[in-house]
């Protein structure tokens, strides 16, 4: 191996006070060669961000207890603050998860990018501005000159992250640390950003330390990956080797917990239990309490680092004995058939909803209507799961808010068991429709205990009284796999997954007929997501509840829903049974969504399709087909002028597009002729 750019050996970092040290990272060693992309994988709390901060030399309140971090043979831990500052600016740059927090809201984009260039490279104002423009161009931001005059909040999430990447590249670093750079983004945006990272890497030869909890994302970018668990490196090797022949049970469990589009099984494999308490680690192998392969020796002896093949190491006693294939958790079961003529539980007809946005120019007030829903119709049968899929801004959350009565639609109707519903509705009706929110951090009142939170619907709707309340709370806690001991906890003491379980228990306490799940797992780690999805399915089986499942993640939808509706800019573009929607011919938008989903399977799923630009401003939706501005299969003028017709391909399956099914099928089955090079993002569609 050539001289590594970054060489970490025996790194140990701890937090806390002298009385109570929390060893967040223990004995971690890895190296990154110049120009190499290294992926660090782990659940939240595994210490991956701590390692990144240690490399950057600013551990907030943390302390390096042992080890060394060599960057081009200089020990970062021994540098003076001045040397560190210069190193951070010039040689190592970092991109954080939330782009908005790394951008100064009061500075124009151009000034921010140019400021770093001036400061670190000593260029003049004019030269720095020119350099900034070329950097923004390099990250494929359209019209850099105009964009430089805008403020960060005027950009979309994907554009903000591009600006942050441009700033990181400003001083031509040799190492770029990216901490979950795509976690907050839509799948389609994520795909384009990942393409960009791969492209920049080959163009600039910058080494990348890529941190993520998503194996699919890492696969796209990284040459090698290291799997981190509770602060220790469990497995390391070349990406394809680790993903295809994982030599550690933890990696294998992670891989199995990912819902894959091509694989539909009744249950996702989840990893039992949660990360161990770092202050009292298990003896022997730290993973053994959760390990499906654990044997006696695992609890007593720490496993040695085993090199299973050159460059592929695993910290497991049985690294060589693990079977090659990933065992499927259960045989894949066939999808439940929808009985014919089932009465819909919920029927939404032509629902319209617009927000009023006021624009004030001096004393002259002007209001504009921003449509969020422009005629949406869906039906949900009893005991069924309908998924609504779309990017942010598609109106899917507004639809949810209208159905639970948090927002008043401006047109159309919502019927529940044949009775029309408005925003002001009796409590008894509210009981029937419950909602689970996306963000578990905000969905629970921090001042109420778990028991109070779950008991509230019981009291409010008069479902239980006296001591029966407590009994029911415990029942519900058991149903969501939390158990009675959680009842006195406050939300702050729970992990994200546990909080979401409390939310689920609260929703089910009302004994609802329909539960709206608004991206319930998008804020959670993949392994936790798997467990939650399984539990939602189990609760559905037990209580016969219907779900309206809102998500931007098609692989999750594929796993949980019987039917799917694809939404874009307040309209439904395609609807049908899940399995069929994933088969061509599908709407070009659906096609792009499917193509964007990160995957760990090595087989390619056909042509790479990327969406250009971002969702148009809903205040001025495009004429004709709303999708024509980004459509990779746009026909021509007809798409810009005429609303597309609905095309029915099979029972219950339809999409809205000018292209007839036969042509669409031919287009979508075409083998990929283009190279895998990502398309640069531009205002105008590229293909066709």
């Amino acid at each position: 191996m050539t001289q590594p750019l970054l060489d970490i050996a025996g790194l140990a970092v701890s937090y806390g006070t002298t009385n109570r040290r929390v060893p967040a990272v223990r004995n971690v060693s890895f190296a990154i060669a110049p120009g190499e992309a290294y992926g660090l994988i782990g659940e939240s709390g595994s210490g991956k961000t701590t390692i990144a901060f240690a490399v950057m030399g600013h551990l907030n309140g943390g302390r390096v207890d042992a080890g060394r971090i060599l960057f081009r043979d200089r020990d970062i831990l021994a540098l003076s603050p001045q040397e560190l500052a210069s190193l951070r600016g010039r040689s190592i740059a970092m991109v954080y998860q939330d782009p908005l927090s790394s951008l100064n809201p009061t500075l124009r984009v151009g000034e921010q990018v140019a400021e770093g260039i001036r400061h670190h490279r000593g260029l003049s104002h004019r030269a720095a501005a020119a350099e900034a423009a070329s950097l923004l161009d390099q990250v494929h931001l359209p019209d850099p000159a105009r964009l430089m005059l805008r403020y960060p909040h005027e950009l979309s999430g994907g554009q903000q992250q591009r600006v942050v990447i441009a700033m990181a590249l400003a001083c031509r670093p040799q190492l770029l640390i990216m901490d979950e750079p795509t976690t907050g983004l839509d799948v389609t945006t994520e795909a384009v950003i990942l393409d960009l990272v791969a492209e920049l890497r080959s163009a600039l030869g910058v080494a990348i330390l890529f941190i993520s909890h998503n194996l699919g994302v890492v696969r796209r970018v990284c040459d090698r990956i290291g799997v981190l668990y509770a602060g220790e490196l469990m497995e390391e090797g070349r990406t394809e080797k680790v993903l295809q022949r994982p030599r550690h049970p933890y990696t294998r469990s992670l891989l199995r917990s990912i819902p894959e589009i091509g694989r539909r099984s009744e249950r996702l494999a989840s990893i039992a239990g949660s990360l161990p308490d770092l202050t009292s680690l298990p003896s022997g192998c730290i993973f053994h309490p959760r390990c499906p392969e654990a044997r006696d020796i695992c609890a007593s002896a720490a496993p040695p680092v085993e090199e299973v093949e050159p460059g592929h190491i695993s910290r497991c006693h049985f690294a060589r004995d693990l079977p090659d294939a990933l065992a499927e958790d259960t045989a894949s079961a066939s999808m439940k058939d929808l009985p014919e003529g089932r009465k819909p539980l919920l029927r939404v007809v032509d629902l319209e909803m617009h927000y009023v946005r006021s624009r004030r120019f001096g004393p002259f007030g002007r209001t504009i209507r921003v449509p969020a829903l422009s005629g949406v119709g869906i039906e949900v049968a009893a005991g069924e799961t309908l998924a609504i899929v779309g990017e942010s801004g598609s109106g899917k959350s507004t639809l949810a808010r209208c159905i639970v009565g948090l927002a008043a639609p401006t047109g159309g109707s919502i019927e529940f068991e044949g009775t029309p519903l408005t925003a002001t509705r009796p409590r008894a009706t509210r009981r029937d429709i419950q909602i689970i929110f996306q963000n578990p951090e905000a969905a629970l009142n921090p001042f109420h205990t778990v028991a109070e939170i779950i008991a509230r619907p019981l009291r409010l709707y008069g479902l239980r009284e006296g001591p029966a309340i407590r009994q029911r709370v415990i029942e519900l806690l058991d149903a969501v796999k939390l158990g009675e001991r959680f009842s006195t906890h406050y939300p702050r003491e729970l992990s994200g997954g546990e909080k979401q379980r409390v939310s689920i228990a609260r929703a089910f306490a009302a004994e609802p007929r329909l539960v709206i799940c608004d991206e319930p797992t998008s804020a959670l780690d993949i392994s936790v997501q798997a467990a939650l999805l399984n539990e939602l399915k189990e609760l559905q089986r037990r209580y016969g509840t219907s779900y309206l499942f809102i998500s931007h993640d098609l692989s999750v939808v594929r796993h949980i829903a019987e039917r799917v509706a694809v939404m874009y800019l307040g309209l439904i573009l395609e609807t049908g049974p899940t399995a069929e929607v994933f088969q061509p011919p599908h709407h070009p938008y659906t096609e792009a969504l499917i193509s964007a989903v990160p995957t760990v399977s090595p087989v390619d799923r056909g042509p790479v399709l990327r969406l250009q630009g971002s969702v148009p401003d809903p205040a001025n939706p495009p004429a004709g087909c709303v999708f024509h501005t980004r459509c990779p299969r746009k026909l021509g003028r007809v798409c810009e002028t005429d609303a597309p017709p609905w095309r029915h391909t099979s029972a219950g399956r339809a999409y809205a597009c000018h292209i007839p099914p036969e042509d669409l099928l031919a287009l979508q089955q075409q083998p990929t002729t283009e190279t895998d090079r990502p398309l640069p993002e531009m205002e105008e569609p590229h293909e066709r």
Binding site: Y15, G16, V22, A24, N60, G61, G62, V404, G405, L406, R425, P426, R427, R430, R431, Q434, I435, F437, Q438, N439, A442, A443, L444, N445, P446, F447, H448, R456, P457, L460, H489, Y490, P491, R492, E493, S503, R506, A510
Partner: protein
């Protein structure tokens, strides 16, 4: 777990203040209004620890006697301000829209008067007695508290746990009292303690202008006012009451900080 040093300090201080209010007159070496005509304007010494004033009254005794009216007045008026401001702010922030607009414009009108002028106006109109002083200062604090609570409740009202409560069909009163109020409590405590310090100064100013507590009541503010004319020759007349005011101000902030940590988000032992 051992109590942090700062918290112990705060509690100790709280205890001292309560003792002062309860026992001040008994531990004072002399009656507050007793003249010692042969010891006029005497500096701090062994007989009169903190010196005497122009009538030969013992400064230490006056401070001890004065603790009760000063502190009770300050606590009551700060409490009244927070009591008025909290519901106003909660309602404005939670409901938003027109109601918010109306409530806040009323608050703006109150705010547009300088604090001292407004307080004076009310006391002069209603007559200078302690109850009216409390009322006046409470009204002065009202919009300030309301604005603070509103800004927090506005942010909280958009949180999903409030949405969840609305979706459940909870009554507004429940949402305001049980969901929102606990979340603003920690801010209220800090607000209250800062207001106590401000109230001491404001009562002092009112007394100074002659519309607050009237002599010979030994209020600290009054002592500062009366002592001012002797600043050149007898600085202790101003220094010690000022020191008392400063100590109480700093102390209430410490107590507030301690209380804030007690009522902060439960289960909040954060690691790193």
């Amino acid at each position: 777990m051992a109590m942090p040093k700062q918290s112990r300090g705060a509690l100790l201080f709280l205890l001292t203040v309560i003792l002062l209010i309860a026992l001040g007159p008994w531990i004072a070496p002399y009656p507050a209004t007793e003249f010692h005509s042969r010891h006029i304007l005497e500096g701090p010494g062994t007989t009169y620890l903190l010196g005497t004033d122009e009538f030969g009254r013992d400064v230490l005794s006056r401070i001890l006697w004065g603790a009760r009216p000063t502190l009770l007045l300050a606590l009551a008026s700060a409490g009244l301000g927070v009591l008025l401001g909290t519901p106003t702010g909660l309602i404005a922030g939670y409901f938003g829209g027109r109601l918010d607009e109306i409530l806040m414009r009323v608050m703006d009108v109150l705010m547009s008067f300088p604090a001292l002028i407004l307080a004076m106006l009310i006391v002069v109109m209603m007559g200078p007695n302690p109850v009216n002083v409390v009322l006046a200062i409470g009204v002065v604090f009202w919009p300030r508290s309301a604005r603070l609570v509103r800004s927090v409740s506005q942010d909280l009202a958009r949180r999903e746990f409030i949405e969840a409560a609305k979706a459940r069909g909870e009554a507004h009163v429940f949402i305001l009292g049980r969901e929102l109020l606990p979340n603003v409590l920690s801010i209220l405590v800090v607000d209250f303690t800062l207001r106590v310090a401000a109230a001491i100064l404001l009562t002092a100013s009112l007394s100074y202008l002659g519309v607050g507590v009237v002599p010979p009541t030994p209020a600290w503010g009054l002592m500062v006012r009366d002592g001012q004319q002797f600043l050149q020759n007898a600085p202790w007349l101003v220094l010690f009451p000022c020191l008392a005011i400063a100590l109480v101000s700093v102390g209430t902030v410490l107590v507030g900080d301690y209380l804030r940590r007690r009522v902060a988000v439960p289960g909040g032992e954060r690691i790193a």
